[in-house]
């Protein structure tokens, strides 16, 4: 990914995150979170993870964000009134975040960096000749069949976790229904 495009999307993402943190209207926070996730999806697509990028927009910027805004409207939240911030939590929070950032910079300055190599589609094609010829021909033709490759790995290598995640979603659905039923008083 060219550096200019990378920093554009990274800045969209980080400024969106800062807006979530600093705006006092919850609806504005939710909408700036959409901006943040669109920037993140741009970064994903720049990393050749097309499917993850699209899922990021559909699931996060679409579904989850609608859920947040729906709840904000349901609760009829107003802009928070300004409260006096207590000093100790403020200093503690900033201290934790600063410590984390300094640690991150220290680790990054000491560990070896990797430059992005262009994808070697021919080698990938050779690796998939035996197991899935369809993917292999698409790779040999010079395309990256992202969704096919993900499906191959997901259903061949991660079948049990996939089923378990299905059960998790069922449990979440039932749990939400139970939680939102009015308790008899």
């Amino acid at each position: 990914m060219p550096l200019a495009i990378f920093w554009f999307f990274a800045l969209v993402m980080l400024l969106g995150g800062l807006a979530v943190l600093s705006l006092r209207n919850p609806v504005a926070s939710a909408l700036s979170m959409v901006a943040s996730f669109v920037g993140l999806a741009g970064l994903f697509i720049g990393l050749n993870a097309f499917f993850v990028g699209i899922i990021q927009i559909l699931v996060y910027a679409g579904a989850i964000m609608v859920l947040f805004i729906f709840i904000i409207m349901l609760l009829d939240l107003k802009i928070e009134e300004k409260r006096a911030l207590k000093l100790a939590p403020l200093l503690g929070g900033i201290g934790i975040v600063l410590a984390f950032t300094i640690q991150l910079l220290g680790i990054l300055s000491k560990s070896p960096d990797l430059e992005s190599k262009p994808l070697d589609l021919a080698a990938g094609s050779a690796a998939y000749v035996e197991s899935s010829p369809g993917i292999s021909t698409k790779l040999a033709a010079g395309h990256l069949p992202d969704v096919n490759l993900i499906g191959d790995v997901l259903f061949k290598g991660y079948n049990l976790p996939l089923q378990i995640v299905g059960v998790l979603l069922l449990v979440a659905t039932i749990g939400v229904v139970v939680l939102s039923k009015r308790q008899p008083t």
């Binding site: 990914m1 060219p2 550096l3 990378f6 993402m13 995150g17 800062l18 979530v20 943190l21 919850p26 939710a30 979170m33 943040s36 993140l40 970064l43 994903f44 990393l47 050749n48 993870a49 499917f51 993850v52 899922i55 990021q56 996060y60 859920l67 947040f68 709840i71 349901l74 609760l75 939240l77 928070e80 929070g93 900033i94 934790i96 950032t101 991150l104 990054l108 960096d113 990797l114 430059e115 992005s116 994808l119 070697d120 589609l121 080698a123 990938g124 990256l144 993900i150 790995v153 997901l154 976790p161 995640v165 998790l168 979603l169 449990v171 979440a172 749990g175 939400v176 939680l179 939102s180």
Partner: protein, 105 residues
Amino acid sequence: MASLHDYLLVSGLLFAIGLAGVVLRRNIIVVFMCLELMLSAANLTLVAFSRFKGVNGLPDYNGQMLVFFVITVAAAEVAVGLAIIVALYRARQTINTEDLTSMRG
């Protein structure tokens, strides 16, 4: 071209922003959004490693599998968490964390 360190730096900064939001904000819905930001930062790290440490010239799709599971669990978590917030609001008429002190020791 952007290198691995650029992606790791950006995702670490996004994580730090989310962490700051969780610690500093008092509105429980915004705290929840910042949790989502932190999960997404972890996703960016996973996808970056999957691209830069590829196998056979292709991205390592095992890393992207973890991203899918994180997204799924995050979606389930949001649904349950928001239901809990609605129940909390019904019981207390507030979602400010400073007013929810019944479990303070």
